[in-house]
């Protein structure tokens, strides 16, 4: 657990970068420090590992005052990843990841084992990447190594300053997803700095919104979206908060677990009759292996053809996707109903537009009730 207690930063020239900031992040939670540039979010983060000295107030990690610890010792126990990554170009990927373990005096065997574990975790085969130099990696791979390095000595607390900031949007979204999955397993306590509200909503268990050095609101993403405490929060969140709220929900949370199905080589007439009888407009076509291969609307089923010939292309939402991805698929394919599939494209259920609308309404209420 990490607790900031009335922390302020005043520079010698009188600039007040951070003013009286207090908040607490429980173990295993990811707290996003969010705000426009110059709001003091990075300064606040850097005061935690004392890269920037605190002017007033205290910061406690697991109840211990960081001001009383040895600076280097403190930092070796906190993972640190920054936007510019700052990989050491003269060291291999493996050596980079082993930086903190070396500083902490781990044995060579332990270090090597840990580096390989972390590369595996990042989806980078150690055999291929361990001995490469940073200059031989792509931007996304470097970011991954940066994250692996900050996990090097298995710290319980991580500080991440826009760790996915310097890469293209597509890779960024993928890395965010990968990182969330890793976090589900590792359950680290994380302070995550960003100026991107979409990233904040997607990544944060809690968001600390800052402006002009002050903490403006601290709460869950839903609270920020649906119960802004003042005009600044409201304007920062934006008028399209309902759209942003789509990121808070995942397909698996609101899908229907069952779906009417048909086989590809069934007769269209027969299937149509069945649909009319059961009063359904859409069904999923699955092959013998249970994989989703397409969808059919009742109105398309006619003549002596088979289902395979009239079905629409297999537009499907991955079960882990967030709702805005699902909506985007719906708009793109013109369908009101999407099949939900797992990684192997096995059919898991369906997602309807009505279900999304209902869920959003509920989310708004929940935010306002809290």
């Amino acid at each position: 657990m990490i607790r900031l207690d009335k922390v302020s930063k005043v520079y010698p020239d009188g600039t007040r970068a951070v003013i009286d900031v207090s908040f607490e992040v429980p173990d295993g939670e990811l707290c996003v420090l969010l705000g426009p540039s110059g709001c003091g979010k990075t300064t606040s983060m850097k005061m935690i590992n004392r890269l920037i000295p605190i002017t007033e107030g205290e910061i406690y990690i697991d109840g211990k005052n960081t001001g009383e610890m040895d600076e280097n010792e403190l930092r070796r126990n906190i993972g640190y990843a920054i936007q510019d990554i700052g990989l050491f170009p003269h060291m291999t990927v493996g050596q980079n990841i082993e930086t903190v373990p070396v500083l902490k005096g781990w044995s060579k065997v332990e270090r090597a084992k840990r580096a390989e574990e972390l590369l595996e975790l990042m989806g980078m085969p150690p055999g291929e990447f361990k001995n490469k130099y940073p200059s031989e990696l792509s931007g996304g791979q470097r970011q991954r190594v940066g994250v692996a390095r900050c996990l090097g000595a298995d710290p319980s607390l991580l500080l991440m300053d826009e760790p996915f900031g310097a890469i293209d949007p597509i890779t960024r979204v993928r890395l965010q997803g990968e990182f969330l999955k890793i976090q589900e397993v590792l359950k680290k306590t994380i302070i995550f700095v960003t100026h991107d509200i979409y990233e904040a909503i997607k990544m944060g268990d809690k968001i600390a919104l800052m402006n002009e050095g002050r903490l403006v609101q601290y709460g869950t993403p839903a609270e920020l979206l649906y119960r802004p405490e003042n005009e600044f929060v409201e304007s920062f969140v934006g008028a399209d908060r309902a759209l942003k709220g789509l990121q808070l929900l995942r397909v698996k949370e609101i899908m229907t677990d069952t779906a009417p199905t048909a086989k590809p080589d069934e007769k269209a007439e027969a299937v149509r009759a069945r649909m009319e009888q059961e009063g359904i407009d859409w069904l999923a076509v699955v092959d013998i292996g249970g994989r989703f291969v397409g969808g059919v609307n009742r109105l398309d089923l006619s003549g002596g053809r088979t289902v395979k010939e009239v079905m629409s292309p297999p537009a499907a939402a991955p079960v882990d996707a967030v709702l805005n991805e699902a909506i985007s698929l719906m708009l793109g394919s013109g369908l009101n109903t999407l099949a939900v599939v797992d990684r192997d494209r096995k059919l898991l259920g369906v997602l309807t537009f009505d279900a999304i609308r209902e869920a959003l309404a509920k989310l708004g209420q929940r935010g306002e009730d809290q």
Partner: protein, 226 residues
């Protein structure tokens, strides 16, 4: 030209002796310059306003020393030494003058190289809990080495050329041939002296280019970078 060749053929030992003398002079001067220049360069590259002021002063003085014509610098050194009742002819004043000359490229490159290390790299090192000395030896110096070596090369090559003047104050070396050639109007001596200096200069330039590549950390080499 043919006369010059004759000297080389008939008295190779003289040419060899003078060459060794020359190299010894350059070696001692550059050795001292490294011992002073690299640590001083590291020191003045440190953080803080006061350190910056020291850096500005040191670099300024070193640059001024470079603008003094080399012959005049030898003269200055002799004058100062004789006013202190120290030997003002021969090797000692020559070496002192050469050290002053060799200093700037080493000092400036060390300073620039360490200052030039990407701040993000330094911040991530510090953020992971490296002490200042660990940062210096594990991060800053390895990254600065190629540029420091380039300064060293400039310094050695320049010193090889300037050391030819040292013969004027009786320090020997390949300048000895030039000095006698000028005095006795013997073109062959002048050619032997100046061509030898040029050859040694080129040789060391090539050699130290090699060393530069060799000491550059693997991850920084251009062949790896693409």
């Amino acid at each position: 030209m043919r006369d010059a060749w004759q000297i080389l053929v008939r008295r190779p030992e003289v040419v060899l002796d003078r060459t060794l003398e020359h190299l010894q002079m350059v070696g001692i001067a550059c050795g001292i310059a490294i011992v002073i220049g690299v640590p001083l360069g590291i020191f003045i590259s440190g953080k803080g306003k006061r350190r910056q002021a020291i850096a500005d002063t040191v670099l300024y003085v070193a640059e001024i020393a470079m603008t003094v014509p080399s012959i005049a610098l030898f003269g200055f050194v002799m004058a100062i030494l004789s006013s202190l009742n120290l030997p003002s002819l021969g090797l000692p004043p020559a070496i002192i003058a050469l050290v002053i000359y060799a200093q700037l490229p080493i000092l400036r490159n060390t300073y620039t190289a360490i200052r030039g290390v990407d701040p993000a790299i330094i911040e991530s090192g510090r953020g992971m809990g490296m002490s200042e000395s660990q940062l210096l030896f594990k991060v800053k110096l390895p990254l600065a080495i190629p540029v420091i070596m380039a300064g060293l090369r400039t310094s050695v090559v320049a010193t090889i050329a300037i050391a030819a003047i040292a013969a004027l104050i009786g320090a020997g070396g390949l300048g000895w041939f030039i000095r006698w050639g000028l005095r006795q109007y013997r073109m062959d001596l002048i050619i032997v002296g100046s061509v030898s200096v040029a050859i040694i200069g080129i040789l060391f330039d090539v050699l130290m280019h090699r060393v530069e590549r060799w000491v550059t950390p693997k991850g920084l080499k251009r062949s790896v970078r693409q």
